[in-house]
Symmetry: C2
Subunit: 364 residues, 2 copies
Amino acid sequence: MKIETKIAHFSSPLYLESGRILEPYEIAYETYGEPNDDKSNVVLVCHALSGSHHVAGTYEGERKPGWWDGLIGDGKAIDTNKYFVVCTNVIGSCFGSTGPMSANYPSEESYRLKFPVVTIKDMVRAQMQLLSSLGIYHVRAIVGGSMGGMQALQFAVDYPNFADDIISLAATYATRPWTIAFNKVAIEAIRRDPRFKQGNYEKNAFQEEGLDGLAIGRIAGHISYLSPTSMDDKFGRNYVSNDGLFELFGRYEVERYMEYNTNNFSRIFDPLSYLYIVKAINTFNLSRGYDSLHDAISRIKANVHLISFSSDYLFFPSEMEHIEKMMQRNGQNHTYIEVESNYGHDAFLVELDKFEENIREVLK
Amino acid sequence: MKIETKIAHFSSPLYLESGRILEPYEIAYETYGEPNDDKSNVVLVCHALSGSHHVAGTYEGERKPGWWDGLIGDGKAIDTNKYFVVCTNVIGSCFGSTGPMSANYPSEESYRLKFPVVTIKDMVRAQMQLLSSLGIYHVRAIVGGSMGGMQALQFAVDYPNFADDIISLAATYATRPWTIAFNKVAIEAIRRDPRFKQGNYEKNAFQEEGLDGLAIGRIAGHISYLSPTSMDDKFGRNYVSNDGLFELFGRYEVERYMEYNTNNFSRIFDPLSYLYIVKAINTFNLSRGYDSLHDAISRIKANVHLISFSSDYLFFPSEMEHIEKMMQRNGQNHTYIEVESNYGHDAFLVELDKFEENIREVLK
């Protein structure tokens, strides 16, 4: 299938949870498959911190497919022969939706640190606007992992009649201090990097040489996406063969992996967007705006499917179980599985074969 | 008791595992209590990454006692009425023993990055020299947690007849990639900090304004020393009351804790020492120099006491159990307890009441 990114322009204001507004704003998105006549076959997919709207298919001339390509396509668990799949780039991101490097209209200057804080609630509201603009007022399902799973749950709470099914993977009901602490490494590393210049760096300043602060913060991120056991399996105590064991900066394989991935990442991801998205993750709390978590959860009318991963060291299975127990006590429709996996948090991206049948079942 | 740091000077070479030598070298140490006539009452205590030889008592005019003061003293688990307690500063450190900022004799210039890599084996060998210089050729017990626990185990393997009892807390048999990854944050953050100047910073350059790279690396460290649950208990999702929730750099309590502790630390700890000690931790592997881990463990003649902590996210209980099972199969004298604690790796420093009786029992 031919894949292309579309940009929707909105001139009406987006009211943010902070009380500030975003006006005008744009949302980048992709769609796969075709809507049926009554648009009753829409599946919305929500992306995670470093992801984008490019969830499936491969751009012409490129080799790397979208981040959940294994799950979405012809005959796959989210079958594009049956479903019209929509994925948007979250506001605040750097892949086409309005973010801190966008122009602060009517000025042509980038917002930078003047960009308003956005929350998971705001990301969800923006997606509602996008779907409305496409004439979609109800969806068959909303699916997402990690920050995408937060969005799926936030949809379920804020817009109880909007989706039939909610599938949330590797997420939580509110971000715990453990995760906030991992994000703190990135926040401090970016802020204190002299090349960050309090956000006043040149556009594309880091395309050649990524921002060290972002790369360093991303190492902490990668730790939280893996697990002790997955690192044992993947790297063990193997040493990079050309590095001497008694050289101070000689490296273990795990160190080389961290260097390689994070240096690449720091060339393609905007550090201001990283700060804003991390802030959205930190402030995620399903109960905010409601009397209690119980009050928030009780609003849900969709059938909620919670999927956790046994070795997830970022959002632990116990956090999903907390939601599960609450829904169970309330007699709300839901399913819960804890997938056995050694891959840590990353499992939602790499161990598709362990949960794709569950998604297929929901969409049957 | 009056506490003072002593410095022992050695003009003979210290042969390092790398094949390099340290000559001359100095070891800073403290002692508490008095040796008996035949010096059969010596207890050696080994410190962790950020620790020093100042393990007990309080310096005149200061308020903060040594890092294990609750365990060592008059009538305490390691009773200074009975035992002569010795604690040395590891080589490579910045608290008085020879390290990267020491003069590279015969030059008066600091070693800096020319300092040889030192290992846990080397730290242990240096302590053997110090004890020999004090006329101590056998000790009643060796006790340590984290990197100190690694040293205790390394003593047990390398010098099987040297100690009657070995007490190793919150340690492992070989550092896993999980821990190496946490250390990688510090290594990269320090190296890439422009003020680090490839190690050629002015002496005392960071006393007023700590090195950002060290502070950032230390945030990752603190994550690994705590646990998800301890952070829930300690901070929850509490927000710093003066910071607005929708300010980008507004902070959760856990973030303020990280800032406060790591900024302080970066003013008092030398970044080169941090890199060298982290390298020693990364390269720790009891089996190196022996045919296998089993071969190394089989050498042990001391009675080994292994203490792990249920919520330790840096060195997991399963790692201590691995040693335990091996000793059990070999029929070697040992005990093992997993202490129930929410405090994570830090438990070995803060939950003394949960294991002090075990130490008292060993020393009875």
